[in-house]
């Protein structure tokens, strides 16, 4: 019965999507909005990566909301899991390969994550991706380097300061008499590391915030809080 209802719902959804997608040929021409972003984005924001200029430049306020959603979800996860009883299950000791690999790979993964979010305006990647890569290093640390723990207060401080840096970078635009998240810094030469104004600053803040938030989520899911 349950399966039958599911199949009927799926058939309705598939038919609706098929009718809609029949109107949009695959590989269509670029639209007005996308075309403008591609043609004007580099001059207007100074970022070589147009996706970054959309995420942080044109839709910076939207990204602030997105970071807030992630923060609220991490907070909700902490609240749901707060005060969990010890499960009593014994954790298996990591193998030699995992514990050696952890010690060897942890700094490399952190450096790679930092590279991805610092170069977000030049190459594929950015704050969210780099932050997730850095958080995966912490997951490896919990799996492999038995006994090592994240310092909670440091994690919270990094997260709060990074969030604050994003808002201050936005308010700087208001302070010079423009609008929220205005690109107040000089744009520089395209394709240089120091270019695109406040975009790398915001992306570094996002990278630190996302990395510390996801590391906190990993910690909350693995650890029993006292």
């Amino acid at each position: 019965m349950r399966g039958l209802i599911a199949v009927i719902v799926l058939a309705v959804l598939a038919a609706g999507l098929a009718f809609c997608l029949a109107e949009i040929p695959f590989g269509r021409d670029i639209g007005d909005v996308g075309g403008r972003y591609v043609e004007q984005g580099v001059q207007e924001t100074g970022a070589a990566n147009v996706v970054t200029s959309v995420v942080v430049g044109y839709r910076g306020f939207d990204t602030l909301g997105e970071v807030t959603v992630l923060f609220i979800a991490a907070m909700g996860l902490g609240a749901v899991l707060y005060g969990r009883r010890p499960s009593g299950g014994r954790r298996e000791k990591p193998s030699l390969i995992l514990s050696t690999g952890c010690r060897f790979l942890f700094p490399l993964i952190m450096v790679f994550g930092a590279y991805v979010f610092i170069h977000g305006h030049l190459t594929p990647g950015g704050g969210f991706q780099g932050g997730v890569i850095a958080a995966s290093a912490f997951l490896l640390m919990y799996l492999g380097c038995g006994g090592k723990r994240i310092h909670r207060a440091t994690l919270g401080a990094v997260e709060s300061l990074a969030g604050l840096a994003f808002v201050i970078a936005g308010l700087a635009g208001l302070a010079v008499g423009g609008y929220f998240l205005m690109n107040v810094l000089p744009k520089g030469t395209v394709n240089q590391l120091f270019s695109a104004g406040i975009i790398p600053v915001i992306y570094i803040a996002i990278g630190l915030k996302v990395g510390s938030e996801l590391a906190g989520i990993v910690e909350n899911l693995l650890e029993v809080t006292e």
């Binding site: 670029i30 591609v38 899991l81 030049l122 969210f128």
Partner: protein
């Protein structure tokens, strides 16, 4: 055959969405339902990305001065999907934490048994 070939990305992503929705509707293990949620979300993201594709287009990154603006894919869906992926991770983590709590409370992840315990 040519219709199938021309729309293979649409078919694949919609197929992934349908598989995910079927898991959500028909499975009774909460972990499997959360995996289905993740499938559904991945399918939607792939669908949005493939709608933004321009035939023969490249990534919208001006990595050297020779790259021209013509023949770049639409960056807007990519930026939106970037948002959607992050929200998806947050939702997934929250769902998993609720599953952890549910298991601690009822001792099972079977949704039928959980429903029986409800008034």
């Amino acid at each position: 055959m040519s219709i199938l070939q021309a729309n293979i990305y649409y078919i694949g992503s919609v197929g992934l969405m349908l598989v995910g929705l079927y898991i959500i509707l028909a499975k009774r293990n909460l972990i499997k339902v959360i995996i289905g949620l993740s499938f559904f979300e991945t399918g939607i993201n792939l669908l949005l990305i493939s709608i933004g594709y321009v035939r023969g287009g490249t990534a919208p990154i001006f990595s050297n001065p020779d790259v021209k603006a013509e023949g770049m894919v639409d960056p807007t869906p990519q930026a939106l999907v970037l948002t959607a992926i992050v929200i998806g991770v947050a939702v997934l983590a929250l769902a998993l934490s609720l599953a952890v709590r549910l298991y601690e409370h009822y001792g099972t992840l079977d949704l039928r048994k959980v429903r029986e315990l409800k008034w």
